[in-house]
């Protein structure tokens, strides 16, 4: 198996936590992985992305070539579109529907949604709302991760295991909250 994922969003939204959970689960599964991320200047409210590559064979490049990503996971709808050149023709796009409008020329949300809806395979989730219902707006990233679990090539239980290990040091409550968010997100995914 080989899964190439692009995670995108706006600095501070928590895409790196998603990457960490998937990465941890991949490693525990004995899979090879490389995950490249952006630190520094762009983290101040700019667009951020991470390339995550999981495979049962060694991974060569830290970066995903154009047109080769199986999956885009985006915490922000306009940012989901920024990486379309990397998405495979039959790849999936899973995005949060709630925009981060921190630029003066943020486009009309309907126009963004029109573009997303033109894709053959997409899941649009109001991750912010589901996260709040789950208990905290801060777990929107994990809700979105839950919605992607059918496409990762790693079982749901392994991803849940990754959450336990990543959030362990923050205490039981945080682990449980994130597990709840993962489950709530999974309910948004189509059965595959």
């Amino acid at each position: 198996m080989k899964t190439d994922i692009i995670l995108s969003g706006v600095g501070g939204q928590g895409i790196l936590s998603i990457a960490a959970v998937i990465g941890e689960a991949a490693l525990a599964n004995g899979l090879y992985m490389k995950q490249s991320e952006v630190h520094g200047m762009s983290q101040r409210g700019g667009d951020v992305q991470s390339n995550l590559r999981i495979s049962d064979a060694p991974v060569a490049s830290d970066l995903i070539p154009k047109g080769k990503a199986d999956l885009i996971i985006s915490l922000e709808p306009m940012e989901a579109l920024r990486y379309l050149p990397y998405l495979k023709k039959d790849g999936w796009l899973v995005t949060n529907s709630i925009p981060v409008e921190n630029i003066p020329d943020y486009p009309d949300l309907d126009e963004i949604m029109n573009e997303i809806n033109r894709l053959p395979h997409k899941i649009i989730v109001n991750a912010d709302k589901i996260a709040k219902e789950t208990g905290s707006a801060r777990v929107a990233n994990i809700v979105l991760l839950g919605a992607t679990t059918p496409f990762l090539g790693i079982s749901y239980d392994k991803i849940a295991g990754g959450i336990k290990r990543i959030f362990e040091r923050k205490g039981r409550e945080i682990v449980d909250l994130n597990l709840k968010a993962l489950e709530a997100g999974r309910r948004e995914a189509p059965s595959k």
């Binding site: 490693l27 952006v38 200047m41 101040r44 700019g46 667009d47 995903i64 579109l81 050149p85 020329d105």
Partner: protein
Amino acid sequence: MNKVLLLGDEAIAQAAIDAGLSGVYAYPGTPSTEITEYIQASGEAAERNIHSKWSANEKTAMEAALGMSYVGKRALVCMKHVGMNVAADAFINSAITGVNGGLIVLVADDPSMHSSQNEQDTRFYAQFAMIPVLEPSNQQEAYDMVYDGFELSETLGVPIVLRITTRMAHSRSGVTRKPVKKQNELSFPSDPQRFVLLPAIARKQFKRLIEAQNTFIEKSEQSSYNQYIDAPNRSKGIITCGIAYNYLMENYPSGCEYPVLKIGQYPLPKKQLLHLVESCDEILVLEDGYPLVEEALKGYLGIGIKVKGRLDGSLSRDGELTPDNVAKALGFPQEKTTEIPEVVKMRPPSLCQGCGHRDVYEALNEVVKEYGQAKVFSDIGCYTLGALPPFRAIDSCVDMGASITMAKGAADGGLFPSIAVIGDSTFTHSGITGLLDCVNENTSVTIIISDNETTGMTGGQDSAGTGKLRAICEGTGVLPEHVRELIPLKKNYEEMKRVIREEIEYQGVSVIIPCRECIQIIGKKKKK
């Protein structure tokens, strides 16, 4: 096999701890910051009493690391590529003195300038200093190179440069650790004279360094990091440096059809290079950064070996390598991919809502408007974002500390008002000496030290001047009544504007210190 998931930076840090490190010295700079942070957070490092406090700048870091090496201990100094410009005096001369304990100089280059002002290539610095370079292609190699690098440094008697790029620094993968080594005992150089670079001694030492070059080349030829991978199609030979190898192999999942020379250790291995050049019709060089290998092979006139790379347009002269531009250089057909829809807008980084720098610029902009010709020289840090809308508040950003000295030069040339905006950490990094220049000539400049009590842009590291800025300014000779402290908040705008106006009107050196803690740091503290 027990693998740990580590960023390239973290693998380097863990390797240094495991290799018997006694101290890391560094000033924060993307993409090198996480190395020192990892050691600071490591329980093992704390148990072993490994020094890991931040230094005031890269030069003080380099010198402290050399001092630790002098007493026989293993030391690591880390910086981003432009930090090497600051450390260069100590760095170049450390190759002349040589080392006692193993010394690794870790430099993280930033091709494509993700967070930098240029894309200078540290391999040229190492070539200039005439010392070996290690350049990993993956996280495990990064670990191994640091783990073995200290011994290599001790064997060869010189510092070793470890060159990484952003993608190596900030990419995570599984890494297998090696057994933990003990730290070195305190010991002094057997030939203590060599650290006294009086001309007579320096001449001797320089000859020794020149003579060692052949040994360095032999070491490279024997190094397992330099691999010759033969293949039947000799119409082309490919040289890859560091992570370029990954982009090549991404395009050849089941093995490259051409012979490949994978470089991980410099100076370049002569034997293998010669073999590749003699066996193949032409050479393609894949290297991140400047065309160092390509230029060396081609020669200035380009009338010898047929070499392709960044100089002949096979690859762009600037910007980092990617699997896509490497595919193009290899001659693979370019598949058409989806375009980014037009509706997508640029989302540049910006100052955080609630950041004190915002209030400083709001007030400053209004005062500056009152003067026809005011210029604001700024510096390296979050506040550089004041260049972007809605502020458009600054006229320059060149290098660490240049705000104060450029303001001085402009004032000397007749500009009024000449204003500098610098952050607290940048001020202690390289601003103090420039301030002293201003004081010594009583230049009419208005210097704003926008103090957020941290090194903000790199994620909030300790700032060397926290709580000491007034004392430092007065210590250099700024008159106490012209060191003005403020709290940058909306409710204080009128006071801020008044103070800025008064100090602009004062014909001498003034320092205004608007001080309010970075809101990111306040947020982090709350989470804890």
